[in-house]
């Protein structure tokens, strides 16, 4: 099969599959995974049921694809932020803070409803479920990213501080959904200022 055909209506990138994934992502994120039925996704995506089950043999496959796309999306955002930071001549510490500023902005957007991975994990408690593996992959990526930036920023204990920054990320996602996200802007910056220079020696 020619690549030209694939680009137009190939199995891997057909417009139906895209529509399914986009509507599923919006619905899963906004209303939860278990509450959204396949019928609703089909109706809102304007897709036949057979087409849906042709692209995704089971609902779980769609859920997994949804998380994989979220993962890729976040990596893309971070990559662009880092490039912008590098081309501006920023330090690694400034690049790291830019990532958190972006997360705070995102948490303040009206559609924000928490971290898709944390929310999915709450709905899939079984550690052996593929959803949990997707969540773990995303977390491993973020941990490595933090460690790398902290090392470049000459943090005295990059792995340790990275673990702390993951905690900051998680609490930011939870708090922006459950508390006042505007207040968390100040709180998070304060927290980062207390965290980013290493453990205290004067306490």
């Amino acid at each position: 099969m020619s690549t030209e055909t694939q680009a137009r209506r190939g199995t891997a990138a057909g417009p139906a599959r895209r529509r399914i994934l986009d509507t599923a992502a919006a619905l899963f994120y906004a209303e939860g995974i278990h509450t959204i039925g396949v019928d609703r996704i089909i109706a809102e995506a304007g897709v036949a049921k057979a087409t849906f089950y042709n692209h995704f043999p089971a609902k779980d496959e769609l859920v997994h694809a949804y998380l994989c796309e979220q993962y890729a999306f976040q990596r893309g955002v971070v990559d662009r932020l880092r490039e912008a930071s590098v081309s501006s001549g920023n330090t690694a510490r400034e690049a790291l803070l830019a990532i958190y500023d972006h997360m705070i902005d995102y948490g303040n957007s009206p559609a924000f409803r928490g971290c898709p991975f944390i929310n999915a994990a709450a709905e899939y408690p079984d550690p052996a479920h593929p959803v949990r593996a997707a969540v773990a992959a995303h977390r491993a990526w973020f941990r490595a990213l933090m460690t790398e930036l902290l090392t470049a920023a000459d943090d005295p204990t990059p792995e340790r501080t990275a673990d702390i920054l993951i905690m900051v990320r998680d609490s930011l996602a939870v708090g922006c959904d459950l508390d006042d996200p505007a207040a968390l802007r100040t709180t998070t910056r304060d927290l980062l200022s207390r965290v980013l220079a290493g453990p205290r020696t004067d306490a």
Copy 2:
């Protein structure tokens, strides 16, 4: 109706209602709320369906009761911890750290599956739903508790630091479920040491 009768099999404290609440709490927490059907609660509690719907007119009422009990339970635990701390002559700061140590222990228990309130909120995104109100009440209590202890511990900015400690709590709950809870013991203590003496002036 005499209180004696109530104690034995009264409407407010019948053993059937207790069994329903206990099994529902265990199942909701371990496997999620939407995934647990009323039939399963009824079967595992050994209760007739009519009895269930007599005590809880709808499943949502049971969910709400489940969260209210969790709230009461946590308040009880904290109250006992504070009393123990006071009778040991501990400072407010030590009492606060004891609460976090207890949360870390809890997060390291094998049955730990995250914070029941955060998990419930993930399953009930609608801000107008009673579940969200129960979550907000619990968070308001915890914020007030932190502020009180920090004020007693002479923290220079108790409200601000309290907001940060809520973030620490949330990330602890998420992380103990999704990451290695044993590692979070060290990480959290490190984080608290960086946080608890106020914002840095040397950075």
